[in-house]
């Protein structure tokens, strides 16, 4: 069965969607990705959709689900490279992906994830401080 590859880069997981998605493929991706987050204890998930020409409400929901599920497992999700036409269509459709972080490209997305981890670290230190 067709699958979308997930790459591990340090504490992050990287997914580049290069094909047009149909519903079952998207569901498989959600499943695989969440299992990978749990297995690798990843701190962040980066999904590059710059090659995707259509995001409809189902695909939007999958992206939202991945973000919410990852968050429960303490991983941040960033979607990068959304095409202008796709963004305009999603807004018109009434979908704003409120729980998902976004960035213009992989580079900025990585920076965002690194910042998120940085904040987490300092937060945790602060937490210990208050314990002591």
């Amino acid at each position: 069965m067709e699958r979308i590859p997930i790459l591990k880069m340090g504490p992050f997981l990287l997914v580049t969607i290069q094909v047009d998605l149909y519903d079952r493929l998207a569901l498989t991706l959600e499943n695989d990705l969440i299992n990978m987050v749990s297995k690798t204890e990843a701190k962040g998930v980066l999904i590059d959709i710059s090659a995707v020409s259509i995001v409809d409400s189902f695909m939007g929901r999958i992206l939202g689900n991945i973000a919410s599920m990852s968050k429960i497992m303490d991983a941040a999700t960033v979607v990068v490279g959304m095409q202008p036409a796709v963004a305009i269509t999603l807004v018109e459709l009434g979908l704003t992906l409120s729980g998902v972080h976004t960035a213009l490209d992989v580079e900025q997305g990585m920076e965002l994830l690194r910042n998120k981890i940085g904040h987490l670290d300092t937060d945790e230190e602060g937490l210990y401080d208050s314990f002591i």
Partner: protein
């Protein structure tokens, strides 16, 4: 309104959707539609074809290039012989869903096209027709 070309495409499996989307793109490109309008049309079609597969058990789509006042456009018809929609008005509301979706399918699709028509008879099936004009907003 003049019909310039007409073809039919049956949709039975999820994989058929990809072919269907690509065919719409070809037709829309032929009319000179902008990328944003193409994307809106294909996204709307994607919502409707999912409904057709999920609730209607598949069906037949019809793809047409039409022209009104010498402005070209693409008209798509989705016809299934499923259980139909008992309350169309309710189904057209944002956030209403009988399945486990966001309930943006029908109302969202309507917002993405210029003309939207839905006819449904419980027990007989549902037919949805959408049109997007080349320069429509």
């Amino acid at each position: 309104m003049i019909v310039l070309s007409k073809e039919k495409l049956p949709i039975q499996r999820e994989q058929d959707v990809i072919l269907f989307r690509n065919r719409i793109k070809e037709l829309a490109t032929k009319t000179g539609m902008s990328l944003v309008n193409q994307t809106k049309l294909i996204t709307a079609a994607s919502e409707l074809v999912r409904n057709m597969l999920r609730y209607g058990g598949g069906g037949v789509t019809q793809l047409e290039i039409v022209s009104k006042n010498s402005i070209p456009g693409v008209r798509l018809t989705f016809k299934d012989e499923g259980p139909g929609i008992p309350d169309v008005q309710q189904a057209m509301k944002d956030g209403f869903s009988t399945g486990k979706s966001l309930g943006l399918g029908l109302p969202g699709a309507k917002r993405l096209v210029n003309e939207f028509d839905i006819k449904s008879e419980p027990g007989k099936g549902t037919t949805v027709t959408i049109t997007r004009w080349k320069n429509g907003l």
